[in-house]
Amino acid sequence: MKEGMNKSWKEIPEGGLIVEPHTSLNNKTGTWRSFRPKWDPEKCVHCMLCVFYCPDTAIPITKEDRPKRLDTNLDYCKGCGICANVCPTKAIEMIEEGDE
């Protein structure tokens, strides 16, 4: 069982309601990934295509006028590979989890 997921039936809202915002921060959704994106900052031109395409908003960016992407947040990346697919400079490679 995941951390924070140990409340009794008397302690949770009825009907599976989620009454607080931001509960996704407690719920890491990247646990069942089988492929992981390996990002190469040398090849990356920070075009932001991967950032916009990522369905889980799992690629953080810097707060600048011309932002730069940072490494993928693996707590939320599900390993779908869309980022690698759209990358124009082939800066992202999908490698199998468990491999290096």
Binding site: M5, W9, I12, E14, G15, G16, L17, I18, V19
Partner: protein, 386 residues
């Protein structure tokens, strides 16, 4: 005021007076005159309900689930295979703890295709987590709809309710119905106050999120607890309604049972027929009585046990099968009596499937078997060609 109403019109009359914010319904067969009458009210300005006509019962229940989750009072009505088509969303309504109220006209499920009275539709939903109230006549349909609305909407309950009546026998038969004044009903049901609301709450809210092995079980455990609370609070609202109508609403209603040696258990319109036979046999000096089940979910095990504890033989009338097992009502009655040291002997009777008539002579036959102590472990069938 006394009005001449069918069971279907009695349901529609209660809905008009409650004036829900949203009603969604499939307008064609197997829909009943409940929605025809209610649509008439809306069309003529006698109700300001938002009436949504949808393309199926699955959508009807989905629309009222959406409306209820948004934070308003929502109702629908259906029957037979319409209820069957709703089934997926019927469970969603209870799982999301939305206090939807639905009148159900009991009619047979296909196949063979049939349109007549039979309890296979609502009995198939008995484990769907809804309060189930069965009605003997149009008067009870009317009053049960008011009662169910109060009970479902209690913030410690929040369980949807279905109110049953027998197809055609009740739904299409005109009887005198004492109807409360509109203002009295309005006062009784009060303004709808959602506990949570998608659209009215200032705080953000998610309804219908995924729960896997982490919280699903806890959420279901809450539903069971809410059923216990519904049972505890039932008489609070039943007594409140009694003050307005003068009628009583016992979960299990005894008729000449206190000194009875023989009892028949029935619900819906079969209770009326049984009562006539009880009166006749009583006039002949036979100690027979009737137990009518009003509340089927949550089931009143304690009341049933108490009502039948001194009876020697009990016949249970079921208008549906649970194929390969005890019929739905019979099984519950047997459960209720298990803890007694001196248990009455039981006989299961199946009757009336697909609208087959239940005559007084059929019930007399059952009573005569019970009076002779002639019971068996096998199901028996009333008015079936053997």
């Amino acid at each position: 005021m006394r009005k001449a109403l069918t069971g279907a019109y009695a349901a529609a009359e209660a809905m008009r007076q409650i004036n829900p914010d949203v009603v969604a319904a499939y307008p064609i067969t197997p829909q009943t005159p409940i929605m025809e009458r209610f649509a008439y009210f809306v069309n003529n300005g006698l109700s300001d309900t938002e009436l949504i006509r949808v393309e199926s019962e699955h959508s009807a229940m989905s629309a009222v689930v959406g409306a209820s989750a948004a934070g308003v009072r929502a109702m629908t009505a259906t029957s037979s295979v319409g209820l069957a088509l709703m089934f997926e969303v019927v469970n969603a309504a209870s799982g999301l703890r939305l206090p939807i109220v639905m009148n159900v006209v009991n009619r047979a499920l296909s196949a063979p295709i049939n349109i007549h009275g039979d309890h296979s539709d609502s009995m198939a939903c008995r484990d769907a987590g809804w309060i189930q109230i069965y009605s003997e006549n149009p008067q009870e349909v009317y009053e049960h709809t008011l009662l169910a609305t109060k009970l479902s909407e209690d913030h410690d309950v929040l369980i949807p309710s279905m109110i049953m009546q027998d197809g055609f026998i009740t739904s299409h038969s005109v009887e005198p119905v004492d109807v409360l004044n509109d203002e009295v009903v309005k006062q009784f049901v009060g303004e709808f106050r959602p506990k949570h609301s998608l659209l009215l709450d200032e705080k953000p809210l998610t309804i219908g999120a995924l729960e896997l092995y982490d919280y699903f079980f806890e959420t279901k455990r809450q539903q069971e607890e809410a059923m216990n609370v519904a049972k505890q609070k039932y008489y609070h609202y039943a007594d409140e309604l009694s003050k307005l109508t003068g009628n009583k609403y016992p979960m299990a209603e005894k008729y000449l049972l206190d000194d009875a040696e023989i009892a028949i258990v029935a619900l819906n319109s079969a209770a009326s027929t049984t009562r006539v036979v009880v009166d006749r046999l009583r006039a002949e000096g036979k100690k027979v009585g009737l137990l009518k089940i009003r509340l089927f979910r949550p089931f009143p095990y304690e009341e049933v046990q108490d009502a039948l504890k001194n009876v020697n033989f009990v016949g249970v009338l079921d208008r549906s099968f649970s194929f390969g097992a005890d019929a739905p009502i019979f099984g519950e009655i047997k459960n209720a009596l298990y803890d007694l040291d001196k248990k009455p002997k039981l006989q299961s009777y199946i009757f009336g499937l697909g609208g087959r008539e239940l005559y007084e002579k059929d019930i007399e036959l059952a009573f005569n078997q019970l009076l002779l102590g002639n019971v068996s472990k096998e199901k028996r069938y009333l008015n079936l060609r053997e």
